[in-house]
């Protein structure tokens, strides 16, 4: 059975969309209901900065993969899928 690798990327994008929506909801909460202080803004900045860093590292690795490849999972046991 042949599977296009890009399908996994689409599934990843679906998870990423859910993640982004939840992340925005949390940012909204801390800014809306947090106490107005330097600490609140510093922590919000920290959470956003680390999230951007994680997304950037993910992008670096994901962009190195050729997602147009098709993988044969069953029927070709000599294929180095692992």
């Amino acid at each position: 059975m042949a599977i296009r690798l890009v399908i996994f990327l689409y599934i990843y994008y679906a998870f990423l969309t859910i993640w982004a929506l939840l992340f925005l909801a949390v940012i909204y909460h801390i800014l809306k209901f947090g106490l107005r202080s330097f600490m609140t803004f510093a922590l919000t900045f920290l959470f956003i900065a680390v999230a951007i860093l994680l997304l950037d590292v993910s992008y670096v690795y994901i962009s190195q993969i050729d997602w147009n490849n098709t993988i044969t999972i069953w029927g070709n046991f000599s294929s180095p899928i692992l």
Binding site: H29, G34, L35, V57, I62, W67, N69, L82
Partner: protein
């Protein structure tokens, strides 16, 4: 956004005496759990690499590993953020006239209640367990004359000192209320 200089329904002459959050140890526990959940997959990955050395060059395994790791760490960060919000947005504000209880229950539920200090009838502080005793944190329960169930300050630092402080403030507030009434 809540400002300590402009409280909701602030009364004339009302000043913040103390802003209370859960004890720092609760936050440390959350951070330790987060760090452990970050390290565990690395240990698992190391073991997998020992048993399946081709995992890093596989046509399917490498892309899946990258996507899986990315999703895992992004959601771990999000969960830690959720957990932190739960800690950070639970606040008890004690002023010279009332107690304001702000509780974040999950992401989509928030309860804010307040009670006048002169209505306070009974205050109990509790320290139960090994870590609460070592790190001096616990609960403070405040029974008021109102219909609402008693206020519950959970896992706050130095519960005995907070109880004493509220008792003094409540007595002072009751005297002031009486003088104004006369």
């Amino acid at each position: 956004m809540l400002s300590k200089y402009r409280l909701p329904n602030q009364q004339p002459g009302e000043e913040i005496v103390k802003i209370i959050r859960r004890d720092m140890f609760i936050l440390v526990k959350k951070i330790a759990t987060f760090l452990l959940l970050n390290i565990l997959p690395l240990a698992f990955f190391y073991l997998a690499l020992l048993n399946f050395p081709t995992i890093l060059v596989g046509e399917l395994s490498w892309p899946l590993l990258i996507l899986g790791a990315s999703i895992y760490y992004l959601f771990m960060w999000l969960l830690f953020f959720f957990s932190f919000i739960d800690y950070y947005l639970d606040v008890w504000i004690v002023t010279n006239k009332r107690i304001i209880d702000i509780e974040q229950k999950g992401l989509f539920s928030r309860v804010i209640s307040e009670q006048k200090l002169y209505r306070v009838q009974d205050i109990t502080s509790e320290t139960n367990g090994f870590f609460p005793t070592i790190f001096a944190y616990g609960d403070v329960l405040i029974q008021t004359a109102g219909e609402k169930e008693r206020f519950h300050f959970q896992q706050v630092p130095n519960p005995d000192a907070i109880r004493d402080m509220i008792i003094k403030l409540a007595e002072k507030n009751k005297k002031e209320e009486k003088e104004q009434g006369v």
